[in-house]
Symmetry: C2
Subunit: 417 residues, 2 copies
């Protein structure tokens, strides 16, 4: 029985203390967390073993087992925490500063957001990643991981809280809902008096559940139906390489490619090359009638069903549609994209600019793989989530996106006329 | 019977068209709106007359009648629309731009948010203000005004839509829920597929209703329990002037002062001056025991009740508490403030800096009236709302706060390793 209201109040108190911590103190705490992850590796891995044993008994498959396992990962997780130390602390930065004609001195200063609720599935490394980014930005966090990693998360959070305590920061800055009962998620989502932002990390249903049940602002993301349009002017060798990378480099993630749109004048040449190159690596295809007419004889090609272009595949399936040109491609993307990552492969710069203007996705690509939509890849150094909504932050969210700001107004007895 | 789903879809389509409009086109449309407000003044004022007659029949009081009336205001409203023409268009701005070590060219570009839902009470001028700011930022908007201004709003929206049409922009960029039935608010709040942001402008209960029933991100604000702490080191003449301004210049708005906290060493000198100066202008006082001990003999002073320090007065009432120093003042503000506007009056710069660090409100003041929390006063030139939540925007929201951004990534066939 967890008292969520109490957890919220405790988090708020811890957030206030953390807001006072200096960058040096926060960095010292991060180093302490990294060190404790290593020195307490035995107890963490013992807890992880119990989760893994349960998972094996439920026969969840090698892929999921691999995601659960901390064995080969603990050193990497500790290294990631240390790398956060090197990042600049956005809290306290002055965003802009001016003296108004009446003499009022106005500035905005970055502040922590306050208290975050992060709800995620599997992958115990998320527990540490999120805690480290929150400590660095002086945000308290309430974590709610997946039930299959309950014991791993419990062990990790224990170590993190001990390290915070040893470093003189409030352990309650990182709290953990140590009960898989889903009703606590519902209670967390209504703690708007104590929690400032909810970040769900998981599938579409988790995001929808949060959006529909939360009285706290939710950062929506996670679902990516991603497109690449191949224009007749494209460098087709490079295009093939980009498509191959976007589809196969890690098919189970949200920035993986789902559909290619190929201009008709090159389709009869290009599609067999796609079939051959990607097919060799296990990709199967869902083709619209025009594409099916060209490559449908191959066993790996199926005629696309009515929902196929609205499906995030998360596996080695690729949708193919033949289009007459960039306008039809844009229209298709506007209809079927989830606004995550969409791109064009072309050598026509005017066309590329038009595509970039028209496509309203978190990341719009020209001649590059959609797989770059990631904080680390786009220069943010760290990432807490990828947002596909338009408020606060869009696309990869780094440290700065975990801050708010306050206005600071200084006068000499100024009054409003 | 309004089909809200259809209204959402229509708004989304209009938003796409508006996103393509140039700054010149949008400015031409704003000038057309201003001109039409003047040329159609008769029909607008005739509609306003009907609203006013109804309001008079319901005996709603002079203050509210004054808010409803467009009579002396139409020229000013048109002038405000013209002033939006002069403001820079944030849409299309490049926020930052860099070439990564791997040669990828990464930038972020400001985009419209898309579709806004704005829910407000009384004041028909809000209809025009909001429409103008949305047109300037290429956002479509669904407006829902108060029932007492239904006919005024209907006439204003008709004129705005005609002007948009004449200027070659989609009239559906500005839609209006022409029915006072509250269920349409509920339906609007769940149109998350078509509406990107909800802005409530009204009292605490409207904000709470939106937060609890919306599946769309809500900009919360509107409620301001505002404080000024008067330190013994303050310039007491200036302090009296600031308090007088913050309390009386416009008592019915959210940045008006609610409570003063006075350091005990000056209380016996300063409180009688407050009583005298503000009392002359109709202010009455709710005093904590220490303050009551000093000025309680005056008929305008009442002993503060248990909820008085958690009340947004919206009238000429002022709470007074005597505190031992800045730490107690900070603690009081952290407990009772709604995070809108709070300030310190002091000549001690170290203390002022400490207060600014500790107070986590949208606007924190040093030696100035809380009444400056307003987009126009703080240099934003225009304001759609004041936010007291921490995501997306905090404090006054201008044109830039009505934008999102997208990542633009250009490569030369780049793939992720």
């Amino acid at each position: 029985m967890i008292d969520m209201l109490e957890m919220g109040k405790t988090a708020r108190r811890a957030a206030r203390q953390l807001a006072r911590a200096s960058t040096a103190q926060k960095n010292a705490a991060l180093l302490a967390i990294a060190a404790c992850l290593e020195s307490e590796a035995d107890s963490i891995l013992a807890a992880n073993d119990l989760d893994l044993a349960d998972a094996r008994a439920r026969d969840i498959g090698e892929a999921l087992l691999d995601r659960l396992s901390l064995y080969s990962r603990l050193a990497g997780i500790a290294a990631d925490v240390r790398s956060v130390v090197a990042l600049p602390d956005p809290v306290g930065e002055t965003i802009d500063q001016e003296t108004l004609p009446n003499g009022l001195r106005v500035s905005r200063r970055r502040t922590p957001i306050g208290v975050l609720g992060v709800i995620y599935e599997a992958r115990p490394n998320v527990t540490v990643d999120v805690a480290a980014l929150c400590v660095k930005t002086s945000n308290a966090v309430i974590l709610r991981g997946g039930s299959e990693t309950l014991r791993s998360n419990r062990a990790l959070v224990k170590v993190i809280r001990e390290a915070l305590h040893a470093a003189g920061l409030p352990p309650d800055a990182v709290q953990f809902i140590d009960d898989p009962d889903r009703r606590y998620v519902g209670e967390l989502l209504r703690l708007n008096e104590y929690v400032d932002m909810i970040i769900p990390r998981g599938g579409a249903s988790l995001h929808q559940f949060c959006r529909e049940n939360s009285t706290i602002p939710v950062i929506t993301g996670g679902l990516g139906i991603c497109h690449l349009y191949v224009d007749a002017s494209a460098d087709l060798d490079a295009a093939l390489n980009v498509i191959f990378n976007a589809k196969t480099q890690r098919p189970s993630v949200c920035n993986a490619l789902d559909t290619i749109l190929v201009q008709e004048s090159i389709a009869s040449d290009f599609l067999p090359r796609v079939l051959d190159h990607l097919g060799k690596h296990g990709v199967s295809f869902r083709a619209d009638p025009a594409a099916f007419g060209l490559i449908g004889a191959d066993a790996r090609v199926t005629a696309a069903g009515p929902d196929d272009f609205d499906t995030e595949w998360m596996n080695l399936t690729l949708g193919i549609r033949v289009v007459d040109g960039v306008e039809t491609a844009i229209e298709h993307i506007q209809t079927h994209s989830t606004g995550h990552s969409d791109g064009i492969l072309t050598r026509d710069r005017v066309q590329a600019a038009h595509f970039v203007d028209e496509i309203d996705s978190a990341a719009v690509y020209v001649n590059a793989s959609t797989r770059f939509t990631d904080g680390g890849q786009l220069g943010l150094s760290a990432e807490i989530a990828v947002s596909t909504q338009k408020l606060h932050a869009r696309g990869p969210m780094g440290l700065r996106e975990l801050t708010s700001y306050k206005w600071i107004v200084e006068g000499d007895g100024h009054v409003r006329p």
